[in-house]
Amino acid sequence: MQDKSLNRDFHHALTVHNDLCIGCTHCMTVCPTQAIRVRKGKATIIANRCVDCGECYKACPVSAIAVEQDDLEMIFKYPVRVILIPSVLIGQFPKKIMTSSIYNALKEIGFTHIYEVENTVDMVLEAYRQYMHEHTERPMISSYCPAIIRLIQVKYPSLVDNIMKVNPPIDMSAMYYREKLKAGGIPEEQIGLFYATPCAAKIAAVKSPVGETESAINGVININFLYNRILKFLQRKYTESEPPETDDLLSSRGILWSLTRGEVIHSNGRALAIDGIKNVNEFLENIENEKLDQIDFLELRACDESCAGGILISGNRFLTVERLKNRAEEYQAREDDKVRKLSDGFLDINEHGFLGDIGPRPMGTLDEDLATALKKMERQRRIMCFLPGFDCAGCGAPDCQTLSEDIVQGNAQISHCIFMQHQMIKQNVLSQGQAIRVTESIWGEGRLEKNCNKLGAEDENN
């Protein structure tokens, strides 16, 4: 099922495992963009509404939402295998595990060069400064969190011009290290650049980047996968081998960047940091009507506790934040931490620091033609008079409003509503048998039968 109006190429990292999905409503009701419907007993994701935030992944009781990733074997196609790790990868391990041990484990897994994603934040900050200076839109919204960029594109299209079109650290670092390695004499085709991602949105962003630039990253490995591999390695007795290639560009600013307030602490003007997609949604809803141009900068992150709460982070997010804050304090005590690490000639910020255009991709538009749209809206409002309005999701849509929209768009029928089924049976326009078929078309065949395998039922573990 798809909105017919808009169906451009928009890569998604989240998919539904049909064999695992039990056809409940958890994912559908938490989706901030109403991108999920249940059909034939399975959740389906509407591509042009999904922003890859991962709320569905967190809500699924049976782990039926899958996050795609590249096969680790693919790294071995390249003689030089670079992994870019975000600071939250380190942060999720208990304190007794040293950073150097984690680096060693990554080397053992197969990577030859290990750099932290946030090594280039001083370059990003320099690009921020330039961008704020050259653009008058306020508030400027950080481009850091790709789920937020997509949320703005589909739900708050009027705010796309407020997005600060600066490459986030992952892209800045990928370009920087590619150039640096090339300058060191390694042929381009021998360099494989991989990113250890804490979330689905970052995968989607690498696979179909916003701003129409090509990504310098060759593949994405999910952090939870690496976490397990690292732990397994560290549990064995091992001998320290030669440490992997790395550098010392990391600063306390970089360590804190992906945490909540990691960006706003550098803002000179009035700035706010908001994390959690619900909070962000509420806030963006307000800034569209009120003029908030007295605010200079907004750091908006889809996950609670920002990247420490990324859906692929195995460790407890609050402990992750704590460890990273401690790590940042250690760096702050160092002599050279205050020295900004700007481009040493390998990367030209003016050329590579900025993103191209980010266009709106509005969802939920009833029709391109205003007269038709008005008619559809009138019909939708009439339908709402009949729907019960308590958003039970029994129709396979998250709420009554969304069902009414699906109906006028030809993607659902009024008989999908279980309340309306009773009404229609009473009025003899729907038979009992038809009603059962409708229910089964949404919730799957046999769904009305007894089933003791579900959670909380007699045989739940079978």
């Binding site: 009027s158 009507n289 009120e290 538009t365 391109e368 008005l374 809206m377 009138e378 409002r381």
Partner: protein, 141 residues
């Protein structure tokens, strides 16, 4: 198509709800942002005016293919000198209202600026009616 919303005076926490609802409708109707932005700002100001000054109010929004007509009717103290009230910076808001960040005296001026035509009538002691028209497509004259 017509929509009616009620506003209660003094309820600042809910000021903006009508503007938000209308914004969602305009978004669904695929109305250009430059148009919807103006009407939403004007409506928000109108809502705040009712909340800050009147006892209660009704907002009627009427959308057709050409224009958006908005009528804000309130029961309240009314405006004795409309010309003066239109001046930027002039406000009769109480200190309490100002403390909440409202009452800067820009309300009516902002509404005028963000609509294509504005009619205002008032009977002191009874209430005020403001009618706005915003054209959906660029309108000559």
């Amino acid at each position: 198509m017509q929509f009616r919303h009620k506003i209660s005076g003094g309820d600042f926490a809910r000021a903006g709800n009508v503007a938000s609802a209308v914004k969602k409708i305009l978004r669904q109707l695929n109305i250009e942002h430059s148009v919807s932005k103006r009407i939403v700002i004007a409506l928000y100001e109108g809502e705040v005016n009712v909340v800050a000054h009147a006892y209660s109010g009704i907002i009627d929004v009427d959308i057709d293919e050409e224009k958006i007509k908005t009528k804000i009717t309130d029961i309240g103290p009314g405006i004795s000198d409309i010309e003066k009230a239109m001046e930027e910076g002039y406000s009769t808001a109480t200190p309490q209202v100002r403390e909440m960040g409202f009452g800067a005296g820009m309300g009516l001026a902002n509404m005028k600026k963000n609509s294509d035509s504005m009619k205002i009538s008032s009977i002191p002691g009874e209430g005020t009616t403001v009618e706005l028209v915003n054209y959906i497509k660029p309108h000559a004259g």
